[in-house]
């Protein structure tokens, strides 16, 4: 029987399929259900110091190629989120990655420390949300100097607990490989690539009005698969030893195999949860096991980075 176990730096995952941040991640009951379906790890919805209501509806829209969303980082704030993390960790052994976002390096540091305290198995810095630009300005992920400061501040805040640190990158920058090098230099244990792409816009052709209340939103799902695969490839090329959690457009095993080949050691599933629910984690695990058997492989390692051979 092949093993699905994989690693992201120091973090061991029983399966390479991870719940992406912002998907069902508001209540521990939802996260527990995803874990029970066999996810290798769950990522919580990005949380900030203070609670945020987010943008009004319409804020998530399905379209032909996937989804566009401007949820606006709605979250209950770090104090409530810490309770969710504690409750999850009290009843489940599946690794939990806590996603956080702040307006300054100091805020990121404070949030990272709070999540480590609450028992998160890793902290993921969301420096790349395209939906709150009017509020926060250019995402940190697009500015190498700012990205360096944020990563360094969070790494320092986690030094005491030793909690692994991940940084979620975006395509909204000159070179994603360059950004990966920056965060690797500041001690990030792995990178997550990519966040939603854009911002984009959906206009109702009948009335000519943008449909999202925020007008602009991040594009996800099948439409961004080739973009995400290329991003993973670029990062692997720039940083051959930096682990990568691929995120973007994966719904079928063949998509996952592309991400592995580009250099990802694990793959997060976001938009595809809409069609199948948490059962997608069970299906992909079963299909990957069959694929490994078919190829006579004991684990996924030989599939990772094949595109660079």
């Amino acid at each position: 029987m092949p093993s699905l176990a994989t690693t992201l730096g120091p973090l061991r995952l029983p399966s390479p399929f991870v719940l992406a941040s912002g998907i069902l991640g508001t209540y521990e009951a939802s996260l527990l259900r995803v874990a029970a379906a066999g996810a290798g790890a769950v990522t919580t919805k990005s949380c900030s110091l203070a609670p945020r209501a987010g943008h009004p509806t319409p804020c998530v829209l399905p379209w032909r190629g996937g989804f566009i969303n401007a949820v606006g980082l709605s979250n209950p704030g770090v104090a409530e989120e810490a309770k969710v993390v504690r409750a999850f960790k009290a009843s489940c052994r599946t690794p939990l990655i806590a996603s956080v976002f702040g307006a300054t390096p100091e805020e990121f540091a404070q949030l990272a420390a709070a999540m480590a305290d609450a028992g998160a198995d890793a902290v993921e810095l969301n420096v790349s949300c395209p939906n709150v630009q009017s509020e926060f300005g250019t995402p940190f992920a697009a500015d190498a100097a700012a990205l360096k400061r944020v990563t360094a501040a969070a790494k320092k805040a986690l030094a005491h607990s030793g909690t692994p640190l991940a940084v979620k990158l975006s395509l909204q920058c000159a070179s994603i490989g360059e950004m990966a090098r920056v965060v690797e230099g500041e001690g990030a244990d792995w990178v997550v690539a990519i966040n939603t792409v854009g911002p984009g816009m959906v206009i109702d052709p009948e009335t000519g009005r943008p449909v999202l209340s925020n007008k602009r939103g991040g594009v996800s799902g099948t439409a961004i698969l080739p973009l995400a695969v290329r991003a993973v490839y670029d990062i692997r090329e720039a940083c051959p030893h930096l682990p990568i959690l691929a995120t973007g457009g994966a719904s079928r095993l063949e998509d996952v195999l592309q991400h592995f080949a580009a250099g990802a050691g694990a793959v997060a599933i976001g938009s595809a949860v809409a069609d199948e629910g948490p059962a997608i984690f069970t299906r992909l695990a079963k299909e990957l096991e069959e694929e490994l058997s078919r190829r006579g492989l004991g684990n996924i390692a030989p599939l990772v980075g094949r595109a660079h051979a």
Binding site: G22, I23, L24, G25, T26, Y27, A29, S30, L31, L32, R33, K45, P56, T57, P58, C59, V60, L61, P62, W63, R64, F67, N69, V71, S74, V202, D204, P205, E206, T207, R209, V211, S213, G270, S271, V273, A274, G277
Partner: protein, 240 residues
């Protein structure tokens, strides 16, 4: 346009209101062109163009029309109830689970909860399946589709039996042979219907309400206590 929507019905599309029917002083039905196939109990997201988007149960579907029935209780629902024929409104769906089409069903509706049950009752009637449907509300002014129902109850006795529609359902259960209870209405009413089904030893299907933002099982805002999504694995939940 219509054909392509049938293939990708989940996408938001704007249609023109064909007609508006007043059901009671606070509630109207919007008659819209049919752009996808729904089923009783399933819901749609309705966009008040330029404003917010909210979930509503489909209250009727014919070969050419889809109806939603909206009670004005807040800013979005109020704005939607002011729409006139020819006005633009956005719609996407259908989403979620539906009611089973079962023989000997007892349908129990509270207030605007009658919307999805009217679609169910009409479907059962077309299929010649035995059923009875009861509607209730606080007052006669808050009743929906009372003229189509087989039994009426109002808390204040202003129309039909005085008392709750659940009490009326209990009487009906004692009188006839029923295989399932199907209900939509306020939380307290649903709890009472569930207890009634347990007593009678028959299953219940309850349509529950949660805050919905995406309608497709992504955002997590509609989570039920057990972690399921009310938008995807509900709104119709089966018990027993």
């Amino acid at each position: 346009m219509k054909g392509s929507r049938m293939e990708t019905p989940r996408e938001m599309h704007v249609v023109r209101v064909l007609a508006v029917r007043r059901e009671n002083p606070s509630t109207v039905s919007l008659v819209l062109p049919k752009t996808f196939e729904a089923a009783p109990g399933r819901f749609v997201m309705v966009w008040d163009v330029g404003g917010a988007e909210k979930p509503f149960g489909v209250s009727r579907q014919t070969a050419t029309e889809t109806c939603v029935t909206i009670r004005a209780v807040g800013p979005t629902s109020e704005s939607l109830t002011r729409l006139q024929p020819g006005d633009a409104v956005g719609i996407r769906g259908p989403f979620g689970t539906g009611f089973a089409l079962a023989e000997n069903a007892l349908l129990v509706a509270g207030g605007v909860g009658a919307a999805p049950l009217r679609f169910l009752a009409e479907t059962l009637r077309q299929k010649n399946m035995a059923h009875k449907w009861l509607v209730g509300a606080k007052t006669a002014d808050e009743l929906c589709f009372a003229a189509d129902a087989d039994g009426i109850a109002t808390d204040d006795g202003s129309r039909g039996e005085a008392g709750s529609v659940v009490a009326l359902a209990a009487k009906e259960l004692a009188r006839g042979h029923y295989a399932i209870l199907q209900a939509c209405g306020p939380k307290g009413m649903l709890r009472a219907v569930k207890a009634l089904a347990e007593q009678a030893g028959i299953p219940a299907e309850l349509s529950v309400e949660r805050i919905m933002r995406c309608g497709v099982g992504l955002c997590g805002s509609c989570a039920l206590d057990d972690g399921r999504c009310a938008c995807r694995e509900g709104p119709v939940l089966r018990f027993g």
